[in-house]
Amino acid sequence: MQLIENHITTGIPLSPKAKLSARNVDVFYGDKQAIFDVSLDIGVNEVIALIGPSGCGKSTFLRTLNRMNDTIDICKITGEILLDNENIYDPKVDTVPLRARVGMVFQKPNPFPKSIYDNVAYGPRIHGLAQGRVELDEIVEKSLKRAGLWNEVKDRLHAPGTGLSGGQQQRLCIARTIAVDPEVILMDEPCSALDPIATAKIEELIDELREKYTIAIVTHSMQQAARVSQRTAYFHLGQLVEVNPTNQVFTTPQHELTEAYITGRFG
């Protein structure tokens, strides 16, 4: 596995109806470069799947899309990310509405050490999305239901979110994110800790959300990618190797690296 010299992304990384566009993005952790010159569009109402071997930079790239990398001191980014044609790395841009518009589900579930209710209500509260208690209760219930967690927690909404099982925590984090009703949702392996049924539910949710929103999802499951996404982007060692319609990627990958990965011929 080595870096491809003078690499140009194979396939169709750009989209005519781009909601989010990355342009020549490089990301560095200290001296170490984690993303190399990635340009990619995510279209409106599109679900794009990011796949690639562990450590290839999927999470890093995803985090550039709502400036979550800002919180890592040693992380430096060059290039542009445009949301509705506005560069989000413009110094004038406020990360608050940005992140409210571009929500994120993290790879490791990170519930707040608060009650389940407060975990979900947190976003709507800070953004003032609910007028009063009743509306807030509604938002919380709806979000938990959509994340498939409602039945399991409805009679312990005030128990701490940290006392949930791994999969429950993950769904709690999904519920927390959709409660803010973002335009773009970035999901970093949202189903990794979920059983098939819960996974199906989340996939259903993604399908449903797609009608209104734009979604980028990191996944290791090609089946999942195949089920939920329209396009798939394959990352390799920090480079974006290929972007193509999902069925094409999984049936006739253009790049040899993609093919090798899809067919499991690595290592």
Binding site: T95, V96, F106, F112, P113, I126, T162, C173, P182
Partner: protein, 457 residues
């Protein structure tokens, strides 16, 4: 060879024992036997067994040595002194010591036997002392050495000893409490013999001027502690109004906003505030802040006394800022980054994240820091004595002069004491009551923390 070099020798032996034990364990395990613990554990166990008993013995001996030698010396004193009262004997012994040390006293032939005996004793006890300590070292060492077998649960045993040491450390804290209660209880009791506890607890005049019979007109020796506690509350309150917001905001700023460079220097710089001697703060409060407040207040039409609770409280607040800022900064810093990420990811601003996620997660530590600061404020004397005066006014007006419990304790104890009058005994009663009232305060704080604690991760 004296006591301290003996201790150093024991410590060296202890170090040797560690390597001995470790090597022994290695040898045993090289014979193909599976050891219960690591060679290092056996070494540490050896070291503990070798050092701890000997050190305990040495310390005990060191504490007892004086009385024992004195006792032995008494037999060598001239008969007429032996027959005299204890004070005489005590004196004679002191003299023997000074004669033996050759500090220029006129020699006293009748004491010469004792002086010579002392020299002999000193020599003998030293030999005895080092002999016993070192043989104890060696014996324990040898016994443990022989015990090193695969079945010996060295780690468990070592950990048990370590746990005992840990336990006894917290025992010291408990003993301190017992000691404090014991050292104030007797005098406090004496005080309550003379002054009705109810008058003390609920009386509203504090005036430890000459104590007088109650039935006399013009009597002003009264011991009502309410104004003192009120003053303590007032001043601590003012101090906390400065210290909590400033300290907490500084902690937040340093751990969440400031660049690591700023934090690196600002935090220790603030910590210097805690170490400036209180006399300095006292002068500053009395000569700079108090006149300033007075001028300002008078201009604004208030009646400000030249010593004011405000001046003392403000300066005290500055002094305890680092207690809040540094300790809070540490616990805030310990909150996992993933929690912050979770909040930022939802579009929270930095201050929302801090206020709603980080602070609640760090709450126990912050409350601890604040309690420590309050404690420091309650225990502070010099600033109050210099800037707020010593007059026990029962008032809630921060522009008035007030005094605090601690200040009264100190002035009563360092002023012209009268060991048997309530004037001095009152200090002990105040100490006791203060102790009990802060106990209640701490109890409440603990309950609050337990209730609101948010365990992260």
């Amino acid at each position: 060879m004296n006591f301290s070099s003996l201790i150093i020798i024991v410590i060296i032996v202890l170090g040797g024992a560690y390597f001995l034990g470790r090597n022994r364990a290695r040898t045993v395990s090289n014979q193909g036997l599976r050891m219960h613990s690591l060679p290092g554990h056996y070494g540490a166990l050896m070291a503990l067994w070798t050092g701890v008993p000997a050190l305990i013995l040495l310390l005990t001996w060191h504490l007892l040595e004086g009385p024992v030698i004195d006792h032995l010396l008494i037999t060598q004193l001239p008969a007429h002194i032996q027959a005299a009262d204890p004070a005489q004997i005590q004196l004679a012994i002191s003299k023997v010591y000074n004669l033996a040390a050759g500090t220029g006293l006129a020699p006293d032939p009748s004491l010469m036997p004792a002086v010579e005996h002392l020299a002999a004793l000193n020599e003998r006890t030293l030999i005895l002392n080092s002999g016993i300590a070192l043989s104890l070292c060696l014996i324990c060492c040898a016994v443990t050495y022989r015990r090193i077998k695969p079945a010996l649960r060295a780690r468990t045993e070592m950990e048990t000893i370590v746990n005992l040491l840990l336990l006894s450390s917290s025992g010291i804290a408990v003993l301190t409490t017992v000691g404090i209660l014991a050292s104030v209880a007797f005098e406090a009791w004496m005080f309550f013999q003379q002054v009705n506890p109810l008058d003390f607890l609920f009386g509203t005049t504090w005036s430890p001027q000459v104590a007088l019979r109650a039935d006399q007109s013009g009597s002003s020796g009264s011991f009502g502690a309410v104004p003192l506690f009120a003053g303590t509350l007032l001043i601590s309150f003012i101090a906390m109004i400065i210290a909590i917001p400033v300290g907490l905001m500084a902690a937040i700023y340093l751990s969440e906003y400031a660049s690591s460079n700023v934090r690196q220097y600002a935090k220790p710089a603030l910590e210097v505030l805690a170490g400036i001697p209180t006399v300095v703060y006292g002068f500053f409060a009395a000569l700079t802040v108090a006149p300033f407040i007075r001028v300002l207040g008078t201009d604004l039409g208030f009646d400000v006394s030249s010593e004011s609770a405000l001046a003392a409280g403000l300066v005290m607040g500055v002094m305890i800022i680092p207690f809040v800022s540094s300790l809070s900064d540490d616990v805030i810093n310990a909150v996992p980054q993933s929690l912050r990420d979770g909040s930022y990811g939802l579009g929270a601003t930095k201050n929302e994240t801090i206020r709603q996620v980080v602070i609640p997660a760090a709450l126990p530590g912050i409350v601890g820091a604040v309690m420590l600061a309050v404690s420091r404020a309650i225990g502070e004397t010099m600033i109050v004595a210099m800037a707020a005066g010593l007059a026990a006014n029962l008032t809630a007006n921060p522009l008035d002069s007030v005094t605090t419990v601690t200040v009264q304790i100190v002035t009563l104890l360092v002023g012209d004491q009268e060991f048997d009058s309530p004037k001095t005994l009152a200090a002990f009663a105040l100490g006791l009551v203060l102790f009990l009232s802060t106990l209640v305060l701490n109890f409440i704080a603990l309950k609050i923390v337990q209730k609101y604690r948010e365990q992260y991760d």
